[in-house]
């Protein structure tokens, strides 16, 4: 494992840059554990101080240190993104692989459910959830709701790949060798769709973090939990841009962009490790 990472660092500039960015982001998130200020307490420092030696990223109008507040925010946002991506990957993998492999009525039933989720307008549904749940709405619950709403596109994508590998001889050979459906899906088909899953995971994290930020900025979220979105929400509430407190908005936005770029680059370079053919493609070769 370590050897692979070393090779990736040595030969793959995407991995180098991506890993560095994510390492920085993770370090910042990790620093939340040693924060001198608690996450939800306001007016602990002088408000509206620009970036300085004492407060690296300045302080907010609510008397919070932007840097330490950011450590909590990015940690919660990352956990949220990973939670949504992980849960929705499980759903889309299971549904996509089974629908593509089994075909027939199983496929028809699963895909009609799938298509229902594709056409549901997401944003109004999420706002509806907020109004129904109100104070019970938490980051974890929102992650669960988003995972249940966000698997459909990728399930269809995975199903299309599963349908094509189902007709390959190695699938028929697997059946002939006595492998069960579960074994065929896990051992023969799953490695095939993994590169797609990896890039869609990053895509999905992007999407979920983006939606979470949108909801929080509009106030349709648990705004007492610090996330990137709720930080921007509070900044807007205090008209930070107009008041010239640019650091309150710039640093959260910069950090979340850094996260996106880092995740994307990692996904691209991971493909090379998982899929031996993309290594060939990189050399200018290819299969057959």
């Amino acid at each position: 494992m370590w050897g692979i990472v070393k090779d990736l660092i040595k030969y793959n500039s995407e991995f180098r840059i991506g890993a560095t960015l994510i390492l920085v982001v993770l370090t910042i998130a990790g620093l939340s554990l040693v924060s001198p200020y608690p996450a939800n307490v306001t007016y602990v420092v002088a408000p509206d101080v620009p970036p300085s030696r004492a407060h690296w990223f300045g302080t907010t109008s609510r008397g919070q240190d932007v840097f330490w507040q950011l450590t909590f925010a990015i940690r919660n946002t990352l956990v949220f993104g990973i939670l949504v991506a992980g849960l929705s990957r499980l759903l889309s993998l299971a549904i996509g692989l089974v629908a593509g492999y089994r075909g027939g009525w199983v496929d028809r039933v699963l895909m009609s459910i799938n298509d229902t989720f594709i056409v549901i307008p997401l944003f109004p549904v999420l706002i509806l959830f907020y109004f129904v749940l109100r104070d019970r709405m938490s980051t974890a619950l929102l992650a669960l709701i988003m995972a249940c709403l966000g698997w459909a596109y990728d399930a269809r994508l995975i199903r299309s790949v599963a349908m094509s590998i189902k007709s390959r001889e190695f699938t028929e050979t697997s059946i002939f060798s006595g492998m069960t459906t579960r074994e065929i899906l896990m051992q023969e088909h799953l490695p095939y769709v993994m590169p797609i899953v990896f890039s869609t995971t990053m895509n999905n994290m992007n999407w979920s973090i983006g939606l979470e930020v949108t909801l929080a900025v509009l106030g349709f979220m648990d705004i007492d939990t610090p996330t990137i979105g709720s930080m921007i929400y509070w900044a807007n509430q205090h008209t930070a841009i107009v008041a010239g407190i640019w650091w309150w908005i710039a640093f959260p936005v910069g950090l979340v962009v850094m996260t996106f770029v880092g995740l994307f680059l990692l996904a691209v370079s991971m493909n090379e490790y998982i899929d031996p053919r993309s290594r060939l493609a990189r050399m200018g070769g290819g299969v057959r």
């Binding site: 027939g104 190695f170 050979t173 697997s174 060798s177 492998m179 095939y192 899929d275 031996p276 057959r288």
Partner: protein, 332 residues
């Protein structure tokens, strides 16, 4: 050939049945086929594309997928008493013989190996469950078997795309034969290989078959392969067996008009003469011609050929043929 047959196929029928938007369609790809394969024998099946060869062996092996349906008849294996056909036997019975006793070398060896699994993993995925013993013993067995097909142990750590076509084909043969199956079905095992590799691979199949004493049912449209490898040869046309004989005899004295044309069309070294091709193309099996299915293209066709299908009659010396004209000539 002596002893009871290992595989005995009797009046086997398998159709592709579809019904879309109220239209029923029935393609009779295998329509009443009877033949035996004996112990320690390589039985060849020849015929042009769409003659039902692949459908026949899929039915025999019990690998039916909709819309292909088993319709009737039997395909009995001597090691599977009590079941008329794998296609109708419970799945557990089929799983008990697949790979371990009945093996299948699939068409298109390039795709038999999962491109994302190393060869070692493919061996484990497909064959480990059929072999008793530990992983170490299995590993040793794989190495011994690879030596038999003259492959270096290093291929185990390779991905399929790192191997040449011939090596891949040898890997698939090694995979199919590692459990020493009693019966091997080979579907076009040498298609897409050049003639040098073809000869090599065919020699290997023959050698392994002789060493293990298993029977082989070999399907290909390549008559050269049949001439080189098979002991007996059956000729299929439009879902039916039209002629069957020991291979040498069939090449020397074909009786059915279709077989005669097939063999006359083969090029021979030193013969610069033009080869006559047969007019027309194979019939539509959803709406086959009445009577003998070959009659629209047959130069010897008579009224009786249009009216009734000729039965497969024994013409002596292990030769069987289904033709009214040949039967009539023999009787008179």
């Amino acid at each position: 050939m002596t002893g009871p047959p290992v595989l005995s196929v009797e009046n086997l029928q398998a159709y592709y049945r579809t019904h879309y938007f109220g239209v029923n369609r029935e393609v009779r790809a295998v329509d009443g086929i009877t033949f035996d394969v004996h112990d320690n024998e390589i039985y060849g099946l020849a015929g042009e594309s769409s003659s039902g060869k692949t459908t026949l062996i899929k039915t025999v092996a019990g690998l039916l997928k909709p819309p292909l349906q088993f319709v009737g008849g039997a395909a009995r294996f001597s090691f599977l008493p009590g079941h008329d056909a794998l296609a109708t036997a419970p799945r557990a019975v089929a799983l008990g013989v697949w790979w371990s006793r009945l093996s299948f070398i699939m068409q298109g060896s390039m795709n038999v190996l999962n491109p994302l699994r190393r060869i070692r993993r493919t061996f484990r995925d497909f064959a480990l469950r059929h072999v008793r013993g530990t992983r170490q013993e299995f590993g040793q067995r794989v190495l011994d078997h690879l030596a038999r097909v003259r492959l270096d142990p290093s291929v185990l750590d390779a991905y399929p795309h790192e191997l040449s076509g011939g090596m891949r084909q040898r890997v698939t043969i090694a995979l199919a034969t590692i459990c020493k199956p009693q019966f091997i079905i080979a579907d076009e095992p040498t298609t897409a290989l050049d003639v040098v590799i073809q000869k090599d691979v065919l020699g290997m199949i023959r050698q392994i078959q002789r060493e293990m004493g298993s029977s082989v049912l070999l399907v290909t449209h390549d008559m050269g392969v049949h001439a080189a490898l098979t002991d007996r040869l059956g000729i299929m046309y439009a879902g039916r067996l039209v002629e069957e004989a020991p291979t040498r005899k069939l090449f020397a004295a074909p009786m059915h008009p279709y077989t005669q044309h097939l063999i006359a069309s083969l090029p021979r070294i030193g013969d610069a003469g033009h080869r006559n091709s047969l007019e027309g193309s194979p019939p539509n099996l959803a709406d086959p011609p009445s009577g003998c299915r070959f009659h629209p293209r047959c130069p010897l066709a008579r009224d009786v050929c249009r009216a009734s299908a000729p039965p497969l009659i024994v013409a002596g010396g292990g030769h069987r043929v289904a033709c009214h004209v040949v039967a009539g000539a023999g009787a008179s």
